[in-house]
């Protein structure tokens, strides 16, 4: 029996909009699961349903073997870190952290010990007497974390907690959250729209789109074996290239492309290739393209080009290619890393 179980969960808002379609998921104890998807995909709604802040329209949510649908959020033993942190503005940092403990009737001495513990863990010991208004974004973030940790809950929920931080701090806090979660071993769910955050943090990812769980799996599974075109497109930067064509005699053919494909013959197939699986060849056998734009990132170079049939292609290369805008280059694909999707259903083809 898993620690958290979602069984056929559905969410319909009173105005009739359906936010979550029949979703099922099992989360093991100690796991860090990331819900990732574009805004409006229902990831936050699902998280809030687990927290008890939204009603479950249909289906069941189990926590530690008990159905929690009808249990009040305060009784669920779940802690949440909000996007804007939702610190209590009128309380000192100490009281912010201690409040949840107090309302659970824990003794004063124990609270003091616990707050000291947490503040040491998060290095906010010198902030305890300050009010949230006097803290910087990063410090507020820590206090919000501290408040969640202090109670030692069964589950941590993170609702895009890094999106209000600047880029550098975000990476740092991301690492800290990961370390902390490892150390404490508390089951956690993290919601984000940032796929880098998702890939780096999660033991497993749940990629969501329009209220549907498109794919559940480890970051590598999802990266290398996306089950739908949406997942393939959403995960990975720069985004995967797509070319429409058809498969005949174990070969995928599109306007200017021809690559081996070990699938049944089929029309309306979409080929997906990641930018790093395309390379520039010296030989003129590859597909001929014209370079339109170059982004030099230092560690890699991203080249945007069009082939002779006006297909947009993106190539990412590690080498310091001496390519200029307007050049004509020849490219070839790594044929072991091709993805094929059915154009109608957007699902990956199966052999």
């Amino acid at each position: 029996m898993s620690f958290i179980n979602l069984k056929n969960v559905v969410k319909v808002y009173p105005d009739g909009t359906q936010a979550i379609f029949n979703s099922s998921l099992s989360i093991e104890k100690g796991e860090l699961v990331v819900f990732v998807g574009p805004s409006g995909c229902g990831k936050s709604t699902l998280l809030r349903m687990i927290a008890g802040l939204e009603d479950v329209t249909e289906g069941e949510i189990d926590l530690d073997g008990n159905r929690i649908n009808e249990i009040d959020p305060s009784e669920r033993d779940i802690a949440m870190v909000f996007q804007n942190y939702a610190l209590y503005p009128h309380m000192s940092v100490y009281n912010n952290i201690a409040y949840g403990l107090r309302s659970r009737g824990i003794k004063k001495l124990e609270i003091e010990a616990q707050v000291t513990n947490v503040s040491e863990l998060l290095q906010i010991g010198d902030l305890l007497s300050k009010k949230p208004g006097q803290l910087s974004g990063g410090q507020r973030q820590r206090v919000a974390m501290g408040r969640a940790i202090a109670r030692d809950p069964k589950v941590f929920l993170f609702d895009e907690p890094l999106s209000n931080l600047d880029a550098k701090l975000r990476v740092q806090v991301r690492l800290e959250i990961k370390k902390l979660q490892r150390k404490m071993g508390t089951t956690s769910i993290f919601v984000t729209h940032d796929q880098t955050e998702a890939m780096t943090l999660g033991d497993r990812l749940v990629v969501m789109n329009k209220g549907v769980m498109e794919q559940v799996g480890t970051p590598m599974e999802i990266y290398y074996h996306p089950k739908t075109k949406f997942v393939a497109e959403f995960i990975g930067t720069p985004s995967m290239n797509f070319i429409t064509g058809s498969i005949k005699d174990k070969t995928f053919k599109a306007s200017s492309f021809a690559v081996p494909a070990r699938y049944e013959d089929k029309d309306d197939v979409i080929l997906g290739v990641r930018p790093e699986d395309i390379s520039i060849t010296k030989a003129t056998t590859g597909v001929k393209c014209k370079v339109e734009l170059i982004e030099k990132l230092g560690s890699s170079t991203v080249i945007y080009c069009v082939d002779m049939k006006e297909n947009q292609l993106c190539v990412s290369t590690q080498s310091r290619a001496s390519v200029e805008v307007g050049d004509t280059i020849h490219i070839s694909t790594n044929n072991k890393a091709l993805h094929f999707f059915d154009r109608e259903t957007s699902k990956a083809l199966t052999k």
Binding site: A51, G52, P73, M80, A86, S103, R104
Partner: protein, 284 residues
């Protein structure tokens, strides 16, 4: 630069004019309250303090007035203070609770109920004074502090202000508090009350002044002189002016006026720091 200076001076001139307009009458009343009646009647109001400060104020505070001579100005001041305090406190508490229920509990008809409360603004006490009196006298509350205070404790204005304030409190705060184990009562006490401190101070001042300056209601309510208020006493002291038994006691009257404005001024001075914050605060 010069133009800036000029506009600044002009602004200060206007402000000073306003201050003088407000302060001069009070100053005149105060200085006149320290002279003897002969000087006041023959020479008019006095610009400088006179020698009779202690005598005049002592007379006003301790002389018994009214028909049965049971009440002194001190007693009336205390009565008014109790009335103002009671009305302000209860108004604030009731309005906060009403606004809390309107904003945070999603019962049907919450909005119509709010507008219904709001409409009561159109029906001031003077309009409903007869039914109010009937109810209070049927309950046997005439000539009591309860009777003075209770009919005036509902306030649509305060409900409105608190409702608007609660609506500006972010939802995450409630959600976070819920996850921290706060029930609805604790959320009210631990969060909304401290967060609306400034708002409470502002409302308290308004409501205190409102309660303190009530005239018609205490006039109807109290037949027993023990419950007379300062504003009612004001009328008595002027009635005496025209009866003219002996020399009109003008100095004492001014002393009485000065005394009567002390409690509201005290409240404003004590709470003004929060009061101003409450009025200008925008986002929490």
């Amino acid at each position: 630069m010069i133009i800036n200076r000029l506009t600044q001076m002009f602004a200060h001139f206007i402000l000073l004019l306003g201050v003088l307009l407000m302060v001069i009458p009070i100053w005149l009343a105060f200085t006149s309250s320290t002279h003897d009646n002969v000087t006041l009647i023959t020479e008019g109001m006095q610009w400088y303090p006179g020698p009779l400060f202690i005598e005049n104020y002592d007379e006003v505070l301790n002389e018994k007035g009214g028909f049965s001579e049971e009440i002194t100005a001190t007693g009336m001041l205390i009565n008014s203070f109790i009335m103002g305090l009671g009305i302000a406190t209860l108004k604030v508490i009731i309005s906060m609770m009403a606004a809390y229920s309107l904003v945070y509990f999603r019962f049907s008809l919450a909005t119509p109920i709010f507008w219904f409360i709001f409409i009561t603004l159109l029906v001031p006490l003077e309009v409903r004074i007869f039914p109010s009196y009937k109810i209070v006298s049927d309950m046997g509350l005439t000539n009591s502090y309860t009777g003075l205070v209770l009919p005036l404790v509902a306030s649509a204005t305060a409900v409105f202000f608190f409702r608007q304030f609660y609506k500006s409190v972010p939802d995450e705060l409630l959600e976070s508090a819920k996850l921290d184990g706060a029930n609805s009562w604790r959320f009210f006490i631990d969060f909304l009350v401290p967060l609306s401190k400034t708002m409470i101070a502002a409302m308290f001042i308004f409501m205190f002044v409102f309660g303190y300056s009530q005239y018609l209601w205490p006039l109807l309510m109290t037949t027993d002189e023990k419950y007379w208020t300062v504003v009612m006493g004001m009328k008595l002291i002027y009635v005496e002016l025209y009866e003219g038994v002996s020399l009109p006691r003008v100095g004492q009257r001014f002393a009485y006026i000065i005394l009567s404005i002390i409690p509201p001024v005290l409240i404003v001075v004590l709470l003004q720091r929060w009061f101003i914050k409450g009025l200008i605060q925008t986002e929490k």
